[in-house]
């Protein structure tokens, strides 16, 4: 199979074969980062711009290292230091980058749909590194990749996503991706933090984390976005931790092989106990390692195989 899309905007619009191609490609890139010389010439001469309008450490560094290990040139633009602070619109900024013949723009933005609008207006390849509450496709891909690596297969597996699904782009990308590969997805969280239409997404809904964990092969713990709690979605973090925090005591009642994942950064003691995050069943750091391979694969597929089309 050959990669045909110019952009990676979301997992919603990818089919199973496309997702599998990315996972397959990531496997071959993973060992590049374990070598002494962590570099291959696949994207030599290409320029990748990282355009981040929201704070990010993990994702931004992961994309930057992925591009550099593929020998692309990388420019970093953070909204606070760019012309956006002078009132320039993101579309203008992106068009200016394109005028300097940037081949790809990796964009993170606090508003849903911004990568789509860039894609509609630019010829450069666009990668969505997280937009509003919509999608974070490379996070979804690296989560699937991690499950596949640890459990051998995804199809038929029971995945529970726990936490603030309402505001989570990670949850949406995970739901699309895992479902396309045949997994059963359950979302678990307080009723105030689940979208009203959640059942139409084709997932199970649970308010009882302990029993969901017992039935699961993998639990993806979402970060509780504390900055949103001013809207009183929750009575208290204390009660949240009690009901929906993945604690050691809940973990002990579940299968010994249950995988614990978290996209980071973690609020230890809130959505995940420190001993769980650092424990035997946690694969949080492997997710980070796999994230680099996934992003190398995506960059390579979008830029490396042929010139981006101008469609």
């Amino acid at each position: 199979m050959e990669w045909k899309k110019r952009d990676l905007l979301d997992l919603q619009s990818l089919d199973k074969e496309e997702i599998e191609l990315i996972l397959e490609t990531a496997k071959s890139f993973r060992q590049v980062s374990t070598r002494d010389v962590k570099k291959v010439p696949a994207l030599r001469g290409k320029t990748v711009a990282l355009l981040f309008y929201e704070p990010s450490t993990r994702t931004r560094v992961s994309f930057e290292l992925a591009a550099k290990r593929l020998s692309a040139d990388v420019v970093n633009i953070a909204s606070s230091s760019s012309s956006s602070a002078k009132g320039e619109s993101i579309l203008d900024t992106a068009l200016n980058l394109e005028a300097m013949n940037v081949d790809m723009i990796v964009v993170r933005h606090y508003s849903s749909g911004v990568p789509n609008v860039l894609s509609q207006n630019l010829k450069a390849a666009i990668i969505n590194a997280g937009d509003g509450s919509r999608e974070h496709p490379t996070q979804g891909l690296l989560d699937i990749f991690t499950v596949q690596e640890k459990l051998g297969n995804v199809k038929g597996r029971n995945i529970t996503i726990v936490g603030d699904v309402l505001h989570s782009r990670v949850a949406r990308s995970n739901i699309w991706g895992f479902k396309k590969l045949g997994a059963n997805v359950t979302v678990c969280g307080p009723a105030t933090l689940l979208p009203r239409a959640i059942k139409e997404f084709g997932v199970e809904v649970s308010y009882d984390l302990e029993s969901s964990m017992k039935k699961s092969d993998c639990v993806i713990v979402l970060r509780l976005q504390k900055e949103r709690q001013q809207e009183v979605f929750l009575p208290s973090l204390r009660e949240y931790a009690k009901l929906f925090g993945v604690s050691q005591s809940k973990l002990e009642k579940a299968s010994k092989d249950l995988l614990i994942m978290h996209p980071g950064p973690t609020n230890r003691g809130v959505e995940i106990g420190a001993d769980v995050a650092d424990g035997r069943q946690s694969v949080i750091l492997e997710q980070v390692t796999n994230g680099l391979a996934i992003r190398m694969a995506v960059l390579y597929l979008l830029l490396g195989t042929k010139e981006p089309s101008t469609a």
Partner: protein
């Protein structure tokens, strides 16, 4: 000044003429309707093959003047209205400054007279500065020319303020128009809350934000035995509440917009900010209920909520872009295509919802019907003319329409206001 309309197939709300008539317009009035009228040296319009409606009236328009003349002015807005077949429009008070005093009302009326295309009735604010706290000088606003008051763009959320406003406006017999929206429930929503808002990751505006105010204001109108007009209804539940209220004899009237009987929230999929409107585009069930409500008269009027915005303002991303779409020039086309040709409304019902009922609700006693002695406001429509909505054809200063590219059947051919031709294809 005299104008003769020949071969007019007249469509009134209560009766459709089956034989062509001639209509003589003299000194701004309809002076004679007869099978054949002969007048020497008189300018004539041949309406053969077309339908002749009483001049269309839009109770809900934003002309943006004063304050945002980069989006629309009285001049460009009334040009757009005339092209859309309208002879009277009510313009909403969310301008800068707000239409909350007689001077602003008079300035708008004077400017509209200078342009001379459409009767413009400024809607004054219910509360000073539309702040929802103190009542405006309602009697003075009425004297200056306001036929209705509204805080449109905002809801009068405080129930006590709304009660006082309704009591006071009842005393001076002035209509209040409510923009029904509890902002504590809207909570920053930018589209309808549902499957599509979930998938698009956009903040949802739940329908209850509208219906709790609809229900509350129905209760207030019942308690105070006064009338209230509910703006741009978008939901099935709203239609049901209003139907119930009317069955109880409560003096509630309501309006709906073409985009709410044509588009669903699925239209937001490509993040086109032209589909961002308040109240938001709703579900297919809501669209069907609005159509039913218009059919059985639960919803009295079709209005446009014409809301012009500049390209710059609409280009700021879905979360930040202002709400609203233009509508004056697509209203007849959409009403004919979506309602008349699809047998939701008869032609007589269309005349009612777009002219007779708005005249009644808005208190325009000499308008809303083609009848001897009434104002010479006439809209001539070719019901079968097919056309495509194109950006370059808009006369509005703004172009923010999600209907660009859509093919419509039914087009305004001629608009006559006060006996003068104000638009001709």
């Amino acid at each position: 000044m005299t104008l003769l309309i020949k071969n007019a197939m007249i469509v009134n709300a209560d009766k459709r003429y089956l034989q062509p008539q001639d209509i003589l317009l003299e000194k701004g009035k309809i002076s004679k309707i007869a099978a054949s009228i002969a007048v020497e040296n008189c300018k004539a319009v041949d309406a053969a093959g077309k339908l002749v409606f009483p001049g269309l009236i839009d109770l809900h328009v934003h002309l943006r003047q004063p304050g945002r003349e980069d989006k629309e002015t009285v001049e460009t807005g009334t040009r757009s209205a005339a092209k859309g077949g309208f002879t009277s429009v009510f313009c909403m008070p969310n301008t800068t400054p707000v239409i909350d005093n007689a001077m602003v009302v008079e300035a708008i009326i004077n400017e509209a007279r200078r342009v001379g295309l459409v009767n413009v009735y400024p809607v004054g604010a219910i509360t000073r500065g539309q702040m929802g706290k103190e009542l405006t000088d309602m009697a003075e606003l009425k004297q200056a020319g306001c036929k209705a008051l509204s805080d449109d763009g905002k809801c009068v959320e405080n129930s006590q303020v709304m009660r006082l406003a309704l009591e006071y406006s009842k005393m001076i017999d002035l209509l209040l128009i409510q923009h029904c929206q509890d902002h504590s429930l809207t909570a920053g929503g930018v589209m309808n809350e549902g499957y599509h808002s979930m998938i698009l990751g956009l903040k949802g505006d739940p329908g209850i934000a509208e219906t709790v105010i609809v229900a509350r204001d129905i209760e207030l109108a019942h308690y105070l035995k006064t009338k209230v007009h509910l703006a741009h209804m978008s939901l099935k539940r709203s239609v049901e509440l209003i139907r119930f209220a009317k069955s109880q004899g409560i003096l509630v009237t309501a309006e709906a917009c073409p985009h709410h009987f044509t588009l669903t929230d699925e239209a937001v999929k490509g993040f086109d900010t032209f589909t961002k409107v308040n109240p938001p585009l709703r579900s297919p069930e809501d669209v069907a209920a609005i159509r039913e409500g218009l059919q059985d008269g639960t919803i009295d009027c079709i209005v446009t909520d014409h809301a012009p915005h500049t390209k710059e303002d609409k280009e700021t991303g879905f979360d930040n872009a202002p709400f609203g779409m233009i509508g004056l020039e697509t209203s007849v086309g959409l009403t004919m295509t979506e309602l008349v040709h699809k047998k939701v409304l008869t032609l007589e019902q269309m005349a009612d919802r777009m002219s007779t009922a708005p005249a009644r609700v808005g208190g325009l006693e000499s308008k809303g019907k083609i009848s001897q002695g009434l104002d010479a406001d006439i809209t001539i429509i070719d019901p079968n003319k097919e056309w495509e909505v194109r950006v370059e054809d808009f006369w509005s200063k703004s172009k923010n329409s999600p209907f660009v590219g859509r093919k419509l059947k039914g087009r305004v051919e001629t608009t006559i206001c006060g006996g003068r031709i104000t638009y001709q294809v």
